[in-house]
């Protein structure tokens, strides 16, 4: 990695982390396009790298929730059983796709998320429940 590349990645991580906290959306949605458009990563590499970065963030977040008693391990386990199977199928599908097609599909995902963000109006006062990054 070159020095400008390291600086760019630091900035991407910082920005993605900050906006994830602010908007309650996951960092991956921001990191993947940034890695593709700014550091010029292949779509597949950007996605694989994003998955790895998400793990410690989710671990720290869920540990905090667990300490506050908001987490039921039974529910997380049920989600994870389906989730692991889905992740296997999804990642194998992604790897079988052409990189340009995958990039276009990702762009469509971004458009859908943006549309949803535009349509949901959050109630002004929500002090009891600050947005948490969904990772």
């Amino acid at each position: 990695m070159t020095a400008p590349e390291i600086l760019a990645l630091l900035a991407i991580g910082l920005t993605a982390g900050a906006f994830a906290g602010l908007l309650g959306i996951g960092g991956g949605v921001l990191m993947v396009p940034a890695m593709v458009l700014i550091t010029g990563f292949d779509q597949h590499v950007a996605q694989g790298t994003s998955l790895l970065v998400i793990i410690p963030a989710a671990a720290v977040g869920s540990f905090t929730h667990h300490r506050h008693g908001r987490l039921t391990l039974r529910d997380a386990a049920a989600l994870a059983i389906g989730g692991v199977l889905g992740a296997l199928l999804g990642s194998m599908t992604a790897l079988s796709l052409d990189e340009e097609l995958l990039r276009r599909l990702f762009a469509i995902l971004l458009l859908l998320i943006a549309a949803r963000m535009l349509m949901t109006r959050s109630p002004k006062a929500e002090p009891a429940e600050p947005a948490r990054p969904a990772a």
Binding site: A57, G82, L109, L111, S122, A134
Partner: protein, 127 residues
Amino acid sequence: MRDMVSTPDRPNALILAAIGLAAGGLSGLFGVGGGIIMVPAMVLLAGMAQQRASATSLASIIPIAAVGAVIFGQADSVNLPAAGVLMVGSIVGVQVGARLMTRIGDDRLRIGFAIFMIAIALTMLVS
């Protein structure tokens, strides 16, 4: 099948597994966490409270993202040094974001950001 009933306190495990399957698929396909569909689905389909849904979603993202990372890693599609640098940046970023949250009007930020995301999506479509 007493267990088919989903209550806020004890959401149905089959419903959760089905939500997990969809979220895991999205996560593997696009390299994201999947919380974007898991949290609203848990609230709407399993009747869970928003905050509990977010907490549960985050915990399940750990194994989901790990499986995806391994599969992508085997295909030589993970940049390890880049992941390390991104982790450092995002740890700092999350602290900054949490501090800023109280100061910025939520709606304007979200609309501005949605427009920014549309611009990114269009760039990705034409590039």
